[in-house]
Every structure is written in C-alpha cells, then in structure tokens.
Symmetry: C2
Subunit: 148 residues, 2 copies
DNA sequence: CTACAAGCTCAACTTAACTTGAGGTCAAGC
DNA sequence: GCTTGACCTCAAGTTAAGTTGAGCTTGTAG
C-alpha cells in the first residue's frame, strides 16, 4: 500500500482547478501550507485539496480570503486536521452561513414578496429591513463590503 | 397629500446607508438613475432606495455590480418600475439565487457531513464534488470569481 | 548527460469597487 | 448679501485577489 503521496503545486492546481499562481498566493496569505523538498519545491499534503475546495466555495458566496483565513486559524498548523478540527471550523462558520442563507432567501423571495409594496413605504419593505439589520450590527466584526 | 418628494444624494445616502461617492459610482455604472435640477444637482425617485437595497444585499452574497447591472437591464429606463418589472428581475435571478442557496447549504452542511471523510477520498468528498460541478458548468455564462 | 517541462522568486500589472482630494457651484439661514 | 454646508466634476489613490513576466533552478525521460 503506497503511502499517501504528497502533491506538487501543479498536481494540486490540476485537481483543485485553481491556478498555480493562486496557490502561491493562498500560501502567502496563510490559507494553505506546504513544505519544501531539498530542491526548494513545494509539496502538499492531501488536506490541501479540502482547504482549497472550501476556499473556492466560500469565496463564491462572498466570503473574503481574510475571513476564510481567520476561520482556518482554528485548524492546527503542521498537523493534518482531524474530524474534530474541521468540526470546529464548521461551528465557527455556521451562524454566518445561516445568516447568509437567510439573506439570500429573502433576496429571492423579497423580490417576489415585495412586489406589492411598490417601494411606497420603504421602511416596511422586507429588503429595506434586511439592510437595516445589516447596518444595525455595524460595530463589532465587520465583514464583506468593508468600507473602511 | 404631498406629492412623493424627490430625494437628494445626501438623503439617499442617509436612508440607504451608502456613501454619496458610492451613489455617484453606481450611477456612472448605470445601476441607478437621476435627473438634474436647474442647478445641476441630482434628484432621485423613491425607487432608487429599492435599487440600492437590492444592490447591497446582492453584493453581500457575492454578486458583482456588473451582474446586478445586467439584471437591472430588465427594468425600464425613465419610468418607475412596476410590480411586473420587479417580477421579471426576480425570475431572472431566481435560478442563480437558488443555486447559491444550495451552495451555501452544502458548504454549511458539508463541513459537518464531510467530517467522516477525512479527505482521504477527495473524489467522494461532498465539497470536492460541488467544486467539480462548478468547473463542469464552466463554459457558458461565467459569473463571480471570474478568472479572466 | 542533456533537454525541457515544471518550479521558484519577486516585481509589476490588472480589475472591481470604491474613497479621497482639489477646485469650484448652489441654496437656505441670518 | 454673505456665509456655510451640501453638491458638482474629474483625477488619482486604495484594497482585494490574483495574473503575468523575467530570470534562474530542478528533475525526469530519452
């Protein structure tokens, strides 16, 4: 039984579908780790594929690399994450994800539901209210569309 | 009954929670419209608040201004959108929004569900599969995280 | 052993989405 | 009638997330 082979950048790029330059970039940002061969080339463990997959999906729904990196802080350095580790990350994100899902649903349904309001009474518009909630939670951890 | 007052940039900024400069920017990008007073100042109709609310929420979930602008194309120029108009926009987006919701759910649940896989068999990982589906639909309308 | 694809680093360029600043105009209150 | 805060335009700066390119090294297949 061959030991689980380590992956080169090229292989990771191929399997994950992101460019080599992006992998370098993620590494520079602390999102993924590698060790080097004697010839200074990167080698990745298998878990990098999971990380990259998560990065891509999270980004797609509007989570910034910085936030992803922050979430990844809960994962151990220099040790392949266990089920427990991933679990922690999961719970760390769950609220945020739930919120985003709710937001999307309201956007989707709001566009339909809101049709009656004609924006005559903005303050009662579901979309408007959602916005208010967003700015209401303004202080504290500000994420996404940060306007400095 | 006072006629529905038109709004100045400052008022829209205040009520919508976005900066005046952002409103200028949205206008330059064709996302919102205004007409000018004799003194060359912008005046907005009420519907601008709805538009801005939608812009903000859509952005928050990772939809680009370009895509939002494209969706807004279905809205009439120079006429306050009717329920029908907003309805069209709603259906235009519905699929995309449904997809995104599904994605978020999978990200959320995947982080939990995936715990057993330990990423030993990447090809069977729910997250990984989601990724594959994404790149599989690669051709055609490419949106979000466009890598040129 | 040598060719050449794949890696490496580092700096510079790109796009999106705004913000900031300079320099000038408008309008409402005193 | 003048002052002060809201507006205007246009150019340049900023941050995120990468990409591109130059110049140099590695490693594998013939």
């Amino acid at each position: 039984m061959a030991p689980v082979r380590e992956l080169t950048v090229g292989q990771v790029a191929m399997r994950s579908g992101v460019a080599v330059s992006a992998l370098h970039f993620y590494e520079a940002r602390g999102l993924i780790r590698s060790h080097r061969t004697s010839g200074n080339q990167r080698r990745y463990g298998r878990d990098v594929l999971r990380r990259v997959a998560i990065i891509r999906v999270a980004q797609e729904v509007g989570i910034s690399l910085a936030d992803i990196a922050a979430a990844f802080q809960s994962l151990p350095e220099e040790r392949t994450p266990t089920r427990e580790d991933w679990n922690l990350l999961s719970t760390a994100w769950r609220d945020e994800l739930d919120q985003k899902i709710a937001q999307l649903k309201k956007l989707r349904d709001g566009l339909t539901d809101c049709i009656g309001c004609g924006c005559m009474s903005i303050d009662k518009c579901p979309l408007r209210n959602k916005e208010d909630r967003l700015s209401a939670q303004g202080s504290g951890a500000r994420r996404l569309v940060v306007a400095r």
